[in-house]
């Protein structure tokens, strides 16, 4: 399976997350987002979750006002791709604790970090949701520890100034 890109859009086709695994120019990306956004937001909820697009397939799922989608090869298994999309959302939900659109808006970088533990080179990297959460948490811990260290150092230097 190869994911060419992953997008999360809201109903107005505003980008919430976007990650590109194949190479496109900025112009192409803009166009793709417009095209893809249009293609999926026009669809009613009873329609299937797959859309043929250019020579690829779009596999998407709508969660309330948000769409999550990936673009995969025509030969890829659509059903498992759908499961992969859902897997990402599932992990986000666990990680943020009841994820909302606002989490993605303000904390998009953390969502990307989660995504980087799920996919590399457009290929699935980990099948266990628990493992992803463990590794992201571990990295957050290092990050926090460093912040504290930096703060302490700053505090100890402060009097000198």
């Amino acid at each position: 399976m190869t994911v060419h890109f992953m997008l999360s859009l809201n109903k107005q086709c505003k980008i919430r997350l976007s990650k590109w695994y194949s190479s496109y120019t900025t112009r192409e990306r803009d166009r793709i987002v417009r095209e893809v956004g249009y293609a999926i937001t026009q669809r009613s909820s009873s329609m299937c979750n797959f859309v043929e697009w250019r020579d690829c397939n779009l596999v998407y799922k709508r969660y309330a006002s948000l769409y999550f989608l990936i673009c995969v090869d025509r030969t890829d298994n659509e059903l498992i791709s759908l499961e992969l999309v859902h897997r990402f959302v599932f992990v986000l939900d666990k990680y943020f604790g009841n994820v909302t659109e606002l989490d993605l808006i303000y904390d998009f970088s953390r969502a990307y970090i989660v995504l980087d533990e799920l996919l590399i080179a457009g290929e699935q990297q980990e099948t266990s949701a628990a493992e992803i959460l463990r590794t992201v948490d571990a990295q957050d811990d290092i990050h926090k520890a460093e912040l504290i260290e930096l703060a302490n150092r700053a505090a100890s230097q402060a009097p000198k100034r």
């Binding site: 107005q12 120019t25 900025t26 112009r27 417009r34 956004g37 249009y38 937001t41």
Partner: protein, 448 residues
């Protein structure tokens, strides 16, 4: 033949409001339009598109599309103008016309669409009239029944733009003569186009149904007056002495020749045709009485020369000279000289002997502001920008021109002058006309 249906669409061309006037075109073709918008770069899309038997005519306002469709050979200028009028009306009703306000006010919009157009034909399109009977509050039948005849009198009256029974304690008229200078200068410093577009705006606070008559130092008008016809008018005029604020340049005998004149619908064109008299029953409040155009060659009021020295990946240096080429006793106010700079430049440094300069990244430009710029002066500005070492993927030098904005009060570049404004109302009251003159920059571009 008239249009079939109207749509208001959001920025992604999804339908917010639709009104089907004739029922002869499938309403789902709005989605075809959306696809067209996607397929073609928006800027390349013409405002009138034909596809598969259906024509789409649209304009864009803020983030909205106003779209009309038809499957016939409709009058497209009517269609476009109607769309502008619709926007104008909506603006009148809720100031900012955007996705939100359209969603919030859909009931009123439907009412307006119903009143402004019937079977695809424009009906009442004047917001001031519409607001008499389409309001955002709900109305009771009893009140309406009482009010209806009065309202409808305005709507369909012989003077459809003015309701009867208007009363003011103090009757006054304010006249603004505003001239905009449009200029296009080539990069070699040659004037390619220069034109003056003038307009006379009025604010009427007059009671009853007054008849007004306006005299200008227009060549044709004066020629006729020389023939004697308007002589008496001028003598009887209440205006000429009462011109407290205005001091138009040029002598009263100076004559100007207008290339083209357009009048508000209140002006009786037959009268204008027969004796060049501008006579009318004005709408209440503010409106534009007339606009005119002159192509008389005038020296550009503000002249700009710029030397731009650009080193890719490193820096750009600018030397800009501005000259005011009007009489020393006049002064240009709030002069802004807008000079384009590359969109990714940074660390600006400026040096100017007059005024102040700042970087305006939102316009990809620097703006040199001179609060007061007297005539016959020459001033200088230098600027330096750093450019990033990494280039953008897409380099599109738009070759934007330098633009200049200014305002010169008490001055009309054409020399047009109000000679009189006669006000006749059957109650016979006296009214004061006040006249103001101003010249400003219109589309004032100097190519770089």
């Amino acid at each position: 033949m008239s249009l079939s249906a109207l749509f208001i669409l959001d920025s992604k061309a999804r339908v917010l409001i639709s009104r089907n006037y004739r029922g002869d075109v499938a309403m789902n073709c709005a989605t075809r339009f959306a696809t067209r918008l996607l397929e073609e770069e928006e800027s390349a899309l013409k405002p009138i598109v034909h596809e598969d038997g259906v024509t789409y005519v649209f304009i864009k306002h803020s983030n909205l599309y106003f779209l009309a469709i038809s499957d016939r050979n409709i009058n497209v200028s009517v269609t476009l103008l109607f769309l502008y009028r619709l926007v104008e009306c909506l603006t009148h009703y809720f100031e900012e016309v955007c996705e939100e306000s359209v969603r919030d006010n859909f009931v009123v919009i439907y009412e307006l669409l119903d009143e402004m157009m019937d079977y695809g034909y424009p009906q009442v399109t004047d917001p001031k009239i519409l607001q008499n009977y389409i309001t955002q509050e709900s109305h009771k039948m009893e009140d309406a029944a009482k009010a209806a005849p009065q309202i409808l009198k305005t709507v369909t009256g012989a003077v459809s733009w003015r309701p009867e029974g208007i009363k003011y304690r103090k009757n006054e008229v304010f006249l603004d003569v505003i001239e905009s200078v449009n200029l296009l200068v080539s990069s070699a410093g040659q004037v390619l186009r220069s034109e003056i577009v003038g307009s006379i705006k009025m604010k009427c606070q007059l009671s009853g149904m007054p008849e007004l008559r306006l005299g200008l130092n227009d060549k044709v008008q004066l020629d006729r007056s020389a023939a004697g016809q308007a002589q008496k008018d001028a003598a009887a005029s209440s205006a000429n002495p009462a011109n407290p604020t205005g001091t138009a340049t040029g002598t009263a005998r100076k004559m100007i020749e207008m290339e083209d004149v357009n009048f508000h619908q209140c002006v009786k064109l037959t009268r204008f045709e027969s004796n060049h008299a501008i006579s009318f029953v004005p709408p209440d409040g503010e409106f534009e009485l007339m606009s005119y155009r002159l192509t008389t060659h005038v020296r550009p009021l503000i002249w700009i020369e710029a030397i731009i020295d650009k080193h890719e990946h490193s820096r750009a240096e600018y030397l800009v000279k501005a000259k005011s080429q009007f009489k020393a006793q006049s002064t240009a106010n709030n002069v802004q000289i807008i000079i384009p700079v590359p969109p990714d430049s940074h660390s600006p440094r400026f040096r100017c002997n007059v005024g102040s300069a700042k970087y305006a990244p939102e316009q990809d430009a620097m703006i040199w502001t001179i609060k007061q710029f007297p005539g016959g002066k020459e001033i200088l500005m230098r600027a330096h920008f750093d450019l990033p070492s990494i280039e953008s993927e897409e380099r599109s030098e738009k070759k934007k021109p330098i633009q200049v904005k200014f305002e010169i009060p008490y001055f009309t570049v054409s020399g047009v002058q109000v000679r009189y404004l006669k006000i006749i109302e059957k109650s016979g009251y006296q009214a004061m006309p006040w006249v103001r003159y101003i010249t400003n920059s219109g589309d004032y571009q100097i190519r770089t």
